[in-house]
Amino acid sequence: MRINRLKEKAMQGVFFLTAITSIAAVVIICIFLFYNGVPAMAKIGFGEFLGGQQWSPRNVPASYGIFNMIIGSIYVTAGALVIGVPIGILTAVFLARFCPKSLYKVLKPATELLAGIPSIVYGFFGLMVIVPFIREHFGGSGSSLLAASIVLGIMILPTIIGISESALRAVPESYYEGALALGATKERSVFKTILPASKSGVLAGVVLGIGRAIGETMAVVLIEGNQVQIPASLTDGVRTLTANIVLEMGYSTGLHREALIATGVVLFVFILLITLSMQAIKSRSEKHNG
């Protein structure tokens, strides 16, 4: 009996330890990133690092300003949202409200399939198809803000569709029926009652999409040109924070390497902010429902 009780207690302890690994993992990741990245930021100067427009690690003296890359990440993400959000939300509306059952059986797994495609395949597809298309029809080299926005827009579609659809389905049917009974058309009922009622869920999907777009690396590095500049037009090249890390980490040493890790820290902080706002949206909607 006592051995049994001991075993129970011991295993409970083991399960508890495995449960706190995720806390430990986040803490260790934070420590490694900040310990290696923040001193480099201090050495370069926080203002110089975050606000500097010059990124030339091989110059003497070298300068490490990632302002253009921060703007690049924001531009590319915004471009992805312009393409992905309207199509994503409208597709979710279609799936939740307009789709015949037989078509749904095909379309739903298809959107899930889209989520499973590895980012490198998206990148290669963009490189071989979208980049040449832009080069021929819009001019420039093709590797551009536009190419990255299109590919990322497609990549965030499944995230936005999936979360928006379940949010739309969670709205009580009586809202829709009430609107119909008042004489509204089907479309009007959907867009004036169901969509507004599900807005926090839809917003959560969009925020998650932002997180995916800003953190995406392998797909954009192949197609965005990677010039360190603030693009003046859609067909100009752009470099994101993620691309900066992946492009130069291989051969960097010393302060250059630390500056790249600091770039990762900036990206990490962006993502933490997104995760926090995501949780705020979630808890707000839970309160709303409860």
């Binding site: 049994n4 075993k7 129970e8 409970q12 508890f16 330890l17 495995t18 449960a19 706190i20 690994t21 995720s22 806390i23 993992a25 260790i28 490694f32 990133l33 199509i87 939300i89 409208l90 597709t91 509306v93 279609f94 379309l107 797994p109 298809a110 899930e112 399939l113 499973g116 495609i117 590895p118 980012s119 490198i120 395949v121 990148g123 290669f124 597809f125 071989m128 579609l157 569709i161 058309t185 089907k186 479309e187 009007r188 998650l208 997180g211 800003i214 953190g215 690396t217 392998m218 192949l222 993620t242 890390i245 992946v246 890790i261 990206l267 990490f268 993502i271 997104i274 995501m278 949780q279």
Partner: protein, 302 residues
């Protein structure tokens, strides 16, 4: 009785209230914006579907003719750029990752679902942290793995370092799916087991885990899909060495990294298309298997 009557009444009314096509057209004429919205919705759904179909068909058309025996030769050289060593490396790294992530993920899920009390502060923290982990981009995992496993622990570029990095990355996936699977096990199973005198541990191992197995398996397979497609987290942890590895401390490229290198060099476009097909088929196969198993679980429940 009165309630029942009301229900049947409503059903009858619904049947009478069928909107004919003509009536619909009239209402659209009165509200043209509704028609515009309908068209927009249809166009959006069409675009989403078209993007997927175009992507897959294009890759298959370009890639399938390049699936030559050369591409699957056992030895890699710069003539055949065979993806066979990369496939083997992918399998090794998948097993390494699962070896680490599965026990931790399932253990954590058991704690959350079976031991933790409702409203426990710590549980909330664990959930938040797992959510944070799942939001971190893979390139940040790659950076962390490089600093922690490759540099600080002196594992150098190796499959082991890559496996550990990926294990942290897929941990939240396995945790979440396992917990969901555990929560679908009816409480009566637990009560029955306790009623027969079994302890908590015995109940978990003999009753709950076996009944939740399909759900857990579906989650693990989902994680495999992520591992196979991962590039950014591996490029500075497992490295991109060609050829077959002799142990887990060797550097080796997985299939996804192999494809990145081919695409980046731009010299072997045809082989890259072929590799893309292999990668797509693998990932789709894995995801379909996961969905199939999860569905089986769903039908058993219902």
């Amino acid at each position: 009785m009165a309630d029942n009557n009301a229900v049947t009444d409503i059903k009858e009314i619904k049947a009478i209230n069928k909107v004919t096509f003509k009536q619909r057209m009239i209402s659209y004429k009165r509200r043209p914006l509704s028609l515009v919205m309908l068209i927009l919705v249809a166009v959006a759904a069409f675009l989403s579907a078209a993007a997927l179909i175009f992507l897959i068909v294009y890759i298959l058309v370009k890639g399938v003719p390049n699936l030559t025996p050369d591409l699957f030769a056992w030895e890699y050289n710069s003539d055949n750029v065979s993806c066979m060593p990369a496939i083997i490396n992918t399998v090794i790294i998948t097993f390494l990752t699962l070896l680490i992530a599965v026990p931790f993920g399932i253990g954590a899920a058991i704690y959350l679902a079976e031991y933790a009390k409702k409203g426990n502060k710590l549980v909330k923290v664990i959930r938040t942290m797992a959510e944070t982990l799942s939001g971190i981009p893979s390139i940040v995992y790659g950076l962390f793995g490089m600093m922690c496993f490759v540099t600080a622990l002196h594992w150098n570029l190796s499959l082991l370092a890559g496996g550990f990095t990926l294990a942290i990355m897929v941990l939240p996936t396995i945790m979440r799916t396992t917990e969901e699977a555990l929560l679908t096990v009816p409480d009566s199973y637990r009560e029955g087991s306790y009623g027969l005198g079994a302890g908590k541990l015995r109940t978990i191992i003999k009753i709950i885990l076996p009944s939740a197995m399909p759900g857990i398996l579906a989650g693990i397979i989902l994680a495999v899909g992520r591992i196979v497609g991962e590039t950014a987290a591996l490029i500075y942890t497992a490295g991109s060495a060609t050829g077959t590895v002799s142990g887990v401390m060797d550097s080796g490229r997985t299939l996804a990294i192999h494809m990145y290198v081919l695409a980046n060099e731009g010299l072997y476009t045809n082989q890259a298309w072929g590799t893309a097909v292999v990668l797509l088929v693998l990932v789709f196969g894995i995801n379909t298997l996961s969905a199939f198993i999860a569905k089986k679980l769903g039908s058993k429940k219902g």
